[in-house]
Symmetry: C2
Subunit: 138 residues, 2 copies
Protein backbone atom coordinates (compact mmCIF):
# COMPACT_ATOMS: atom_id res chain seq x y z
CA UNK A 1 0.00 0.00 0.00
CA UNK A 2 2.99 2.32 0.27
CA UNK A 3 3.74 1.76 -3.43
CA UNK A 4 4.16 5.08 -5.15
CA UNK A 5 4.60 7.01 -1.92
CA UNK A 6 7.44 9.51 -1.77
CA UNK A 7 7.97 11.84 1.17
CA UNK A 8 7.50 15.48 0.20
CA UNK A 9 10.86 17.19 -0.31
CA UNK A 10 10.16 20.02 2.13
CA UNK A 11 9.02 17.63 4.86
CA UNK A 12 12.15 15.57 4.23
CA UNK A 13 14.34 18.67 4.55
CA UNK A 14 12.70 20.00 7.74
CA UNK A 15 12.47 16.72 9.67
CA UNK A 16 14.47 13.66 10.65
CA UNK A 17 13.19 10.05 10.69
CA UNK A 18 12.20 8.54 14.03
CA UNK A 19 10.04 5.50 13.31
CA UNK A 20 8.01 3.72 10.67
CA UNK A 21 4.54 2.75 11.83
CA UNK A 22 2.15 0.56 9.85
CA UNK A 23 0.56 3.57 8.18
CA UNK A 24 2.77 6.55 8.95
CA UNK A 25 6.34 7.65 8.72
CA UNK A 26 7.09 9.39 12.00
CA UNK A 27 9.51 12.30 11.75
CA UNK A 28 10.97 14.77 14.24
CA UNK A 29 10.78 18.45 13.28
CA UNK A 30 14.30 19.80 13.54
CA UNK A 31 13.35 22.72 15.75
CA UNK A 32 14.68 22.58 19.30
CA UNK A 33 12.10 25.14 20.49
CA UNK A 34 9.28 22.59 20.44
CA UNK A 35 9.15 18.79 20.88
CA UNK A 36 7.37 18.22 17.57
CA UNK A 37 6.58 15.04 15.67
CA UNK A 38 5.12 14.84 12.18
CA UNK A 39 3.25 11.76 11.00
CA UNK A 40 2.98 11.21 7.26
CA UNK A 41 0.63 8.45 6.05
CA UNK A 42 2.60 6.52 3.44
CA UNK A 43 -0.15 6.72 0.84
CA UNK A 44 0.42 8.44 -2.50
CA UNK A 45 -1.67 11.44 -3.43
CA UNK A 46 -3.29 11.99 -0.04
CA UNK A 47 -3.85 15.59 1.01
CA UNK A 48 -6.94 15.92 3.20
CA UNK A 49 -7.37 14.23 6.59
CA UNK A 50 -11.01 13.44 5.83
CA UNK A 51 -10.04 11.66 2.60
CA UNK A 52 -8.17 8.96 4.51
CA UNK A 53 -10.04 5.68 4.04
CA UNK A 54 -11.97 4.14 6.97
CA UNK A 55 -9.39 1.44 7.72
CA UNK A 56 -6.53 3.90 7.54
CA UNK A 57 -8.50 6.36 9.68
CA UNK A 58 -8.43 3.97 12.63
CA UNK A 59 -4.71 3.38 12.13
CA UNK A 60 -4.05 7.10 11.83
CA UNK A 61 -5.92 7.75 15.06
CA UNK A 62 -3.98 5.06 16.88
CA UNK A 63 -0.60 6.11 15.54
CA UNK A 64 -1.22 9.80 16.25
CA UNK A 65 -2.25 8.95 19.81
CA UNK A 66 0.92 6.88 20.23
CA UNK A 67 3.01 9.84 19.08
CA UNK A 68 1.19 12.16 21.48
CA UNK A 69 1.74 9.78 24.38
CA UNK A 70 5.43 9.44 23.56
CA UNK A 71 5.80 13.22 23.75
CA UNK A 72 3.88 13.26 27.02
CA UNK A 73 6.17 10.62 28.49
CA UNK A 74 9.32 12.33 27.27
CA UNK A 75 8.42 15.95 28.04
CA UNK A 76 5.41 16.06 30.40
CA UNK A 77 4.00 19.04 28.46
CA UNK A 78 1.14 21.21 29.55
CA UNK A 79 -0.79 20.58 26.31
CA UNK A 80 -0.49 18.62 23.11
CA UNK A 81 -1.41 20.36 19.84
CA UNK A 82 -2.53 18.13 16.97
CA UNK A 83 -3.18 19.50 13.51
CA UNK A 84 -3.41 18.75 9.81
CA UNK A 85 -3.01 22.06 7.99
CA UNK A 86 -1.23 21.62 4.65
CA UNK A 87 -1.59 25.14 3.32
CA UNK A 88 2.05 25.10 2.20
CA UNK A 89 2.94 21.39 1.94
CA UNK A 90 -0.04 19.55 0.48
CA UNK A 91 1.07 16.01 1.24
CA UNK A 92 -1.04 14.99 4.26
CA UNK A 93 0.98 15.29 7.45
CA UNK A 94 -0.18 15.44 11.05
CA UNK A 95 1.61 17.73 13.48
CA UNK A 96 1.88 16.54 17.09
CA UNK A 97 3.51 19.22 19.21
CA UNK A 98 4.23 19.39 22.95
CA UNK A 99 3.42 22.86 24.31
CA UNK A 100 4.11 24.70 27.54
CA UNK A 101 3.40 28.08 29.05
CA UNK A 102 6.27 30.36 28.08
CA UNK A 103 7.43 28.40 25.05
CA UNK A 104 8.48 30.38 21.97
CA UNK A 105 4.93 30.65 20.59
CA UNK A 106 2.69 30.20 23.65
CA UNK A 107 -0.31 30.38 23.64
CA UNK A 108 -0.36 30.90 19.88
CA UNK A 109 0.22 28.20 17.27
CA UNK A 110 3.74 27.08 16.37
CA UNK A 111 3.30 27.39 12.60
CA UNK A 112 4.92 30.52 11.25
CA UNK A 113 6.02 31.62 14.73
CA UNK A 114 9.52 33.08 14.90
CA UNK A 115 12.59 31.36 13.52
CA UNK A 116 13.40 27.66 13.57
CA UNK A 117 16.26 26.71 15.90
CA UNK A 118 17.81 23.45 14.69
CA UNK A 119 19.00 20.97 17.32
CA UNK A 120 22.71 20.54 17.85
CA UNK A 121 23.83 17.21 16.34
CA UNK A 122 24.13 15.61 19.79
CA UNK A 123 20.74 16.89 20.95
CA UNK A 124 19.13 15.71 17.73
CA UNK A 125 20.55 12.22 18.08
CA UNK A 126 19.54 12.06 21.73
CA UNK A 127 15.98 13.16 21.07
CA UNK A 128 15.52 10.86 18.08
CA UNK A 129 16.77 7.88 20.05
CA UNK A 130 14.58 8.65 23.05
CA UNK A 131 11.48 9.02 20.88
CA UNK A 132 12.27 5.94 18.81
CA UNK A 133 12.51 3.88 22.01
CA UNK A 134 9.20 5.24 23.31
CA UNK A 135 7.44 4.70 19.99
CA UNK A 136 8.75 1.16 19.69
CA UNK A 137 7.14 0.43 23.06
CA UNK A 138 3.79 1.36 21.57
Amino acid sequence: MTHGFTLDARLAADTEPVADFVLCRVRLMNDARFPWLILVPARPGLSEWHDVGPDDAALLWDETARAARALETLCAPEKINIAALGNIVRQLHIHVVARNTGDAAWPGPVWGAGTTEPYTPDALTSRREALAALLAGG
Copy 2:
Protein backbone atom coordinates in the same frame (compact mmCIF):
# COMPACT_ATOMS: atom_id res chain seq x y z
CA MET B 1 -22.92 9.79 28.22
CA THR B 2 -23.30 13.56 27.93
CA HIS B 3 -24.21 13.77 31.62
CA GLY B 4 -22.14 16.43 33.32
CA PHE B 5 -21.06 18.05 30.06
CA THR B 6 -21.22 21.84 29.87
CA LEU B 7 -19.93 23.80 26.91
CA ASP B 8 -16.98 26.01 27.86
CA ALA B 9 -18.09 29.62 28.33
CA ARG B 10 -15.57 31.06 25.89
CA LEU B 11 -16.51 28.55 23.18
CA ALA B 12 -20.16 29.37 23.81
CA ALA B 13 -19.44 33.10 23.46
CA ASP B 14 -17.36 32.82 20.27
CA THR B 15 -19.56 30.37 18.37
CA GLU B 16 -23.17 29.67 17.39
CA PRO B 17 -24.86 26.26 17.39
CA VAL B 18 -25.28 24.46 14.08
CA ALA B 19 -25.97 20.79 14.81
CA ASP B 20 -25.83 18.12 17.51
CA PHE B 21 -24.12 14.94 16.34
CA VAL B 22 -24.04 11.72 18.35
CA LEU B 23 -20.76 12.68 20.01
CA CYS B 24 -20.15 16.32 19.21
CA ARG B 25 -21.83 19.67 19.41
CA VAL B 26 -21.12 21.38 16.11
CA ARG B 27 -20.71 25.17 16.33
CA LEU B 28 -19.94 27.90 13.81
CA MET B 29 -17.16 30.32 14.74
CA ASN B 30 -18.63 33.80 14.46
CA ASP B 31 -15.87 35.13 12.22
CA ALA B 32 -16.91 35.96 8.68
CA ARG B 33 -13.28 35.87 7.48
CA PHE B 34 -13.17 32.07 7.55
CA PRO B 35 -15.80 29.33 7.15
CA TRP B 36 -14.96 27.68 10.46
CA LEU B 37 -16.69 24.91 12.40
CA ILE B 38 -15.82 23.74 15.89
CA LEU B 39 -16.73 20.27 17.13
CA VAL B 40 -16.93 19.73 20.86
CA PRO B 41 -17.28 16.14 22.10
CA ALA B 42 -20.04 16.23 24.73
CA ARG B 43 -17.96 14.41 27.33
CA PRO B 44 -17.11 16.03 30.65
CA GLY B 45 -13.49 16.64 31.56
CA LEU B 46 -11.99 15.82 28.16
CA SER B 47 -9.00 17.90 27.11
CA GLU B 48 -6.64 15.90 24.93
CA TRP B 49 -7.57 14.39 21.56
CA HIS B 50 -5.59 11.22 22.32
CA ASP B 51 -7.54 10.71 25.56
CA VAL B 52 -10.80 10.16 23.67
CA GLY B 53 -11.85 6.53 24.18
CA PRO B 54 -11.64 4.05 21.28
CA ASP B 55 -15.38 4.05 20.53
CA ASP B 56 -15.58 7.81 20.68
CA ALA B 57 -12.45 8.08 18.54
CA ALA B 58 -14.23 6.45 15.59
CA LEU B 59 -17.23 8.73 16.08
CA LEU B 60 -15.02 11.79 16.35
CA TRP B 61 -13.27 10.88 13.13
CA ASP B 62 -16.55 10.38 11.32
CA GLU B 63 -18.12 13.56 12.64
CA THR B 64 -15.04 15.66 11.90
CA ALA B 65 -14.95 14.29 8.36
CA ARG B 66 -18.66 15.15 7.92
CA ALA B 67 -17.97 18.71 9.06
CA ALA B 68 -15.04 18.98 6.64
CA ARG B 69 -17.15 17.70 3.75
CA ALA B 70 -19.96 20.13 4.56
CA LEU B 71 -17.49 23.02 4.35
CA GLU B 72 -16.14 21.63 1.07
CA THR B 73 -19.63 21.42 -0.37
CA LEU B 74 -20.58 24.89 0.81
CA CYS B 75 -17.36 26.75 0.02
CA ALA B 76 -15.20 24.64 -2.32
CA PRO B 77 -12.07 25.73 -0.41
CA GLU B 78 -8.52 25.16 -1.51
CA LYS B 79 -7.63 23.38 1.75
CA ILE B 80 -9.25 22.24 4.96
CA ASN B 81 -7.35 22.82 8.21
CA ILE B 82 -8.16 20.49 11.10
CA ALA B 83 -6.71 21.01 14.56
CA ALA B 84 -7.07 20.34 18.26
CA LEU B 85 -4.96 22.95 20.06
CA GLY B 86 -6.51 23.95 23.38
CA ASN B 87 -3.71 26.15 24.69
CA ILE B 88 -6.27 28.75 25.80
CA VAL B 89 -9.57 26.82 26.08
CA ARG B 90 -8.80 23.41 27.57
CA GLN B 91 -12.14 21.74 26.83
CA LEU B 92 -11.42 19.49 23.84
CA HIS B 93 -12.60 21.13 20.62
CA ILE B 94 -11.71 20.37 17.04
CA HIS B 95 -11.31 23.23 14.58
CA VAL B 96 -12.37 22.55 10.98
CA VAL B 97 -11.56 25.58 8.83
CA ALA B 98 -11.95 26.18 5.10
CA ARG B 99 -8.91 28.00 3.71
CA ASN B 100 -8.08 29.74 0.45
CA THR B 101 -5.14 31.57 -1.07
CA GLY B 102 -5.50 35.22 -0.12
CA ASP B 103 -7.72 34.72 2.91
CA ALA B 104 -6.99 36.87 5.97
CA ALA B 105 -4.33 34.52 7.37
CA TRP B 106 -3.10 32.57 4.31
CA PRO B 107 -0.89 30.53 4.33
CA GLY B 108 -0.49 30.89 8.08
CA PRO B 109 -2.82 29.46 10.72
CA VAL B 110 -6.07 31.24 11.61
CA TRP B 111 -5.53 31.15 15.37
CA GLY B 112 -4.40 34.50 16.69
CA ALA B 113 -4.38 36.04 13.20
CA GLY B 114 -5.76 39.56 13.04
CA THR B 115 -9.13 40.58 14.39
CA THR B 116 -12.35 38.62 14.36
CA GLU B 117 -15.03 39.99 12.03
CA PRO B 118 -18.43 38.85 13.25
CA TYR B 119 -21.05 37.96 10.64
CA THR B 120 -23.94 40.33 10.10
CA PRO B 121 -27.11 38.84 11.63
CA ASP B 122 -28.48 37.90 8.20
CA ALA B 123 -25.22 36.35 7.04
CA LEU B 124 -24.93 34.41 10.28
CA THR B 125 -28.44 32.99 9.95
CA SER B 126 -27.87 32.13 6.31
CA ARG B 127 -24.59 30.32 6.97
CA ARG B 128 -25.91 28.43 9.98
CA GLU B 129 -28.94 27.25 8.04
CA ALA B 130 -26.88 26.17 5.03
CA LEU B 131 -24.45 24.22 7.22
CA ALA B 132 -27.21 22.66 9.31
CA ALA B 133 -28.87 21.38 6.13
CA LEU B 134 -25.61 19.92 4.82
CA LEU B 135 -24.74 18.31 8.16
CA ALA B 136 -28.21 16.79 8.48
CA GLY B 137 -27.62 15.12 5.12
CA GLY B 138 -24.65 13.22 6.59
